[in-house]
Symmetry: C2
Subunit: 156 residues, 2 copies
């Protein structure tokens, strides 16, 4: 997909370089049944993540990825598209999975800066609140993460 990031986003950004409303669009990731099952075997061994036939009888009516798999893929896409100096360091956030991720989905992440909060106790850093929507090829939002990131301030 087109890279809608602004030119300055190619440089590594400090908190001081970010502004509320700034957006970052990731590349894409195609998820398949093998990935879904491999993740599930290791971290979320439930029938609706492991067995397409058994999954038909569940709430999901078919094989779906673990929400934590969607979250992990989303992290990869954010790491590759949000050039923050010092890396993407999350303190936590709010997470929702409004729709499941199914085999064959092509995911990308659209992130928007919601809030910038320089730290009083640590003048060298601050907290950036960012909303990241993970979207499939149909335009359905499969994950919303409102995360708090620890971001360095530009040395004065």
């Amino acid at each position: 997909m087109a890279n809608l990031n602004e030119p300055e986003s190619k440089e590594l950004l400090y908190l001081d370089d970010l502004r509320v409303g700034q957006r970052f669009i990731s590349g894409t990731h195609l998820i398949d049944e093998a990935q879904i099952k491999a993740f599930a075997r290791q971290f979320d061994p439930q029938p609706f993540h492991l067995d397409a036939q058994a999954a038909k009888e569940t709430l999901f009516e078919g094989l779906v990825a673990s929400g934590w798999h969607t979250a992990a893929i989303s992290m990869r896409l954010v790491v590759e598209s949000l050039p923050i100096i010092g890396g993407i360091v999350g303190a936590g956030g709010e997470l929702a999975w409004p729709a499941p991720t199914r085999s064959g989905a092509t995911l990308h992440v659209e992130s928007e800066i919601l809030k910038l909060s320089p730290s009083r106790s640590h003048p060298d850093r601050g907290v950036v609140t960012i909303r990241s929507e993970t979207v499939n090829e149909l335009g359905e939002i499969v994950q919303v993460l409102i995360a708090k990131l620890i971001v360095p301030r530009r040395p004065s």
Copy 2:
């Protein structure tokens, strides 16, 4: 560790079988450097998750697991210790990582039911709010997840 779950927790539970304050204690998982790096290569390729030497120069002052890796391991431990009928189906939640997970940590999860909300629109199910703390061998809390689970009601 000792299994503190109550006897009835061996059966598969409906929403109607749960009560506020009920607790579930998971088994344990030992995380090592190989696991941390393997997860990071796939989902969170940043120096503090990939390279013990480079990680010394970062905020973490050493190699740490991706927060999403801690979350995924915690899910595995919850799946194995919370016997809900229909499985563990999360709609989302609030997530915090108060301390990092380091190589050699032995993690377990302590979960407590906070709220039971039968659905008005879907009388066959409801939402269970559960607080799950992931704790290391030193007693440090490395993750707090307050999750909303979709849980079936016992057929009347």
